[in-house]
């Protein structure tokens, strides 16, 4: 199974910091550690789910994957070619292979432009289409996302969130990418529309053989769509496993906490963490496990050293010295 040759995207030791450097007077500017060393790999045709709470670095990671932001350290490889090479070869090479769907569907469409113009851009600039071929392809794309072709001649404010998100998806598809990074694609949508969009995404994946990187803070959505899941905390992946294993037998105490905090219809009695537990300071990351101040299993070794993990393509591992549900798969 773990044939490395189907890996389409891989990151190694990806780091992104903001700020830093020196001020005019020579003082040090504070450095924010947004992403602190991420290794993930995605296989062709699978969905890698990434969960984590606000501020853990999910969107920073996503923006680096599509080239909207550049890593401070580490690198990203797309089926053998280094991303930096791809970008320097040809401005469009990267966008033809990996695309992005934004969280806020309405604000990802220019309010003063017809949908037609928005959707034509990737076809024209990335795929070199024009004239009738362009027109025909736009109709095909609208059809693929279940929208009527006459919607092309409307402005974004005339759409509901769900419809606008379908246009965002159509725009990503237009580039004919292998991989689509979905950054909270349904969080801004109403519950009844969320399911419409999730079902559409799953149909498109089968139809076009896409690979998804699905980022969300919503555990139940990630559980429903992902083959494998990575849990992020404070700029790092703290646990990664095939979806089923992670949700059934979480090994990192943080994953456990997340699962216990999510309300489930028909059930009562969430586990509640002590309110005084403090979050780590992104300006001064702790030397040991970032979760230690909130962790009930923390011991002396946790604050001394950063726990390490070995994330493969099919194994289950957690960056924790004293994990729950001790190792069964490796």
């Amino acid at each position: 199974m773990s044939d490395v040759s189907d890996v389409v995207l891989q990151t190694s030791d990806l780091v992104r910091t903001f700020g830093g450097g020196r001020t005019l007077l020579g003082g040090k500017k504070p450095t924010v550690y947004a992403v602190r060393g991420i290794d993930v790999a995605v296989r062709k045709g699978e969905t890698l789910g990434i969960v984590g709470e606000s501020g853990c670095g999910k969107s920073t990671l996503a923006r680096m994957l599509v080239g909207l932001d550049r890593p401070t350290e580490g690198n990203i490889t797309l089926t053998g070619s280094d991303m930096n090479d791809l970008i320097s070869d040809d401005r469009h090479a990267l966008s033809k292979r990996i695309q992005y769907v934004f969280q806020d569907p309405i604000s990802s469409l220019n309010p003063r432009k017809l949908i037609r113009e928005t959707l034509a851009a990737p076809l024209r600039y990335l795929r070199g289409l024009s004239g009738d071929a362009l027109e025909a392809r736009m109709k095909e794309l609208m059809d693929a996302v279940n929208l009527r072709p006459e919607f092309l001649d409307r402005y974004p404010h005339e759409f509901s969130g769900g419809q606008a998100q379908r246009i965002g998806i159509a725009r990503a598809l237009a580039a004919e990418p292998e991989i689509i990074v979905l950054d909270e694609p349904v969080s801004a949508l109403d519950v009844s529309v969320q399911a419409q969009v999730l079902n559409l995404l799953s149909d498109l994946k089968d139809q076009f053989g896409l690979t998804y990187i699905f980022i969300s803070h919503d555990l139940s959505v990630v559980e429903a769509v992902s083959d494998r899941v990575a849990v992020m905390y404070f700029g790092r992946v703290v646990e990664q496993a095939p979806g089923r294993a992670l949700f059934e037998k979480p090994r990192h105490p943080y994953t456990r906490l997340l699962l216990d905090s999510a309300p489930v219809p028909g059930k009562r009695g969430l586990t509640v963490e002590d309110a005084t537990a403090e979050l780590p300071d992104p300006l001064a990351p702790p030397p040991g496990c970032a979760f230690a101040p909130r962790c009930s299993r923390a011991q002396d070794d946790c604050v001394a050293k950063v726990p390490d993990a070995h994330y493969g393509l099919d194994n289950h591992d957690a960056a924790c010295f004293h994990p729950l549900n001790p190792v069964t798969t490796r």
Binding site: Y100, N110, R148, R171, R268
Partner: protein
Amino acid sequence: MTSNTATASEIKTKKRSARPSAFKLLARNQLALMGAVILALVVLIVLITPILPLPDPDVTNPAQRLLPPFSDGHLLGTDHLGRDLLSRLLWGTRVSLAVGISASLVAALFGSTIGIVSGYFGGRTDNIMMRGIDMLMAFPYILLALAIVAALGPGLMNALYAIAVVNIPFFARNIRGVTVGIAHREFVDAAKLSGKGHIRILLTEILPNVMPVIVITISTTVGWMILETAGLSFLGLGAQPPQADLGSMLGEGRKLITTAQHLSAIPGAMIFILVMSINLLGDGIRDVLDPRLKSGALARPAPLTKIDRSDQGTSNQIADETVLAVDDLRTEFVLGDDTYKAVGGVSFDVGKNECVGLVGESGSGKSVTALSLLGLVASPPGTIVGGRVMFDGKDVYDMTENQVRDIRGGKAAYVFQDPLSTLHPLFSIGDQLVEAIRAHNAVSYRDAWAKAVKLLGMVRIPNPESRANNYPHQLSGGMRQRVGIAMALANEPRLIIADEPTTALDVTVQAQILKLMNDLRTDHGTSVLFITHDFGVVSEICDRVAVMYAGRIVEMGTTEQVLKHPAHPYTKRLIDCVPRLGEPDRRTSAIPGLPPAVNNLPAGCAFADRCDRAEEKCRVGSIAFDDLGDGHGVRCIKPMEGANV
């Protein structure tokens, strides 16, 4: 997916412009209209000046010098060289207008280009460009213009350049500010990923969005620029004799001000008329194009929602234990020609110590219901058109403004989704709590502070003594929401109305806030109206729950009844369409289509277009709210089987 037809018809029936058009808005502003008419007249006259039967403005005739107005052949008289004043005035106005407008356009072109480029690229580009602009601005305005003219030599064109240059910083700064806001919007990133280069993004994505601001800035500066040109000419640095412009005419008239006032009064009046009409029109244009003004944000809403009730509800008996009883509440918004029935007859009650949930999709009217309870809906455009809200046995809509204000934050308190909207950024949270306490109780500052610290402790803010001195921005989102709850608790309310208080929070923090609210209920006997769209949250905290759809309650019952045996097809499908943790294989079936717009509700059941059980009968009359027994009720003629178990 089958949502195609429904969504298409929804968009089709939606009227394209709920808001009046820009032109109509402008015409409605009488001052701006007056400005436009005067300006149009002046422009028309100066445009046809060359073909008017007027004497040459520059031909001198010493024999006819200094004739007063209404002289024969010289309607406005003549100047000290005997030139016809009317002719000079019209030709002069022509020049002044042309110079003022050209200078504005030149300044707009260069200023906006600098602003857009530096706002879009940011970083070093921005730094260098803006420091240059700062240097221009460091000189006093008129001095800089004078220096430029001095360097280039006097003359009309040079005056134009000087004024344009002096105004570039104004445009650059304005436009840069707007561009920075736009350059970070997601659609710009999306354009990058669509393969557009920087130049293309600047021209086709950013510029169309910045254009209104450029127009506003031009329309508010033209008048000013005309004045400045006149100023330079007045000083003899602009138009050179014999050419006339308004400033130089004024300058010449000044020398004879004691003997022939009309020489300076006439160009002076023209400058006044011109600048005033341009400014009135400019203000009008700004009001129309500025989205904030358009949305009516500057219209001060009334302290209490306008109440214009056609009825006052129907039921009369209210149980003793009831804290809040809402009966057939109806709230509408009038925007343009549309009436939005945001709340279309909502009835429910909240008992002592009870937590009632109000669930529904976006736009179903949850928030408007909550705000209507204590008259907090903005008027205009909102009006409460019917029904009754009994709080503690008294009709809120019969109370005076002061009585209602006394209840707000006193016996009934709100907690909103975004705590920042209720916390003032410039006061410490302790001070704000003290303020809230002292608004309703006559206690000393020191006692109130002590109580504030106690409240912070109660909502589990670590280290309340020192945290009380913090400002809102120093707290995390979860802590701010806890402060929001502490504010609500300040005066031991009997009822807390919480509108999606945890929606913006992470799950771990949400769990803490839910627990906190539950504890308050058990410890203090507070009642809660909890608005949410999440059935998981409902299960966690609510005793009873009402499901809203298109402004009405479609199902109500205990949490168990509604979640385990939903009677309304909408409730059932709403529960089923959310993925549930621990059940990855459960099929989530989407509800096709969209909810109807509340300004265009169908007859009969509002859910009929999306309901797979719908039949003819569902689309006629109004569907009644039926009692299924044991406090479970549903607004559906064919409730789901097994519902009334």
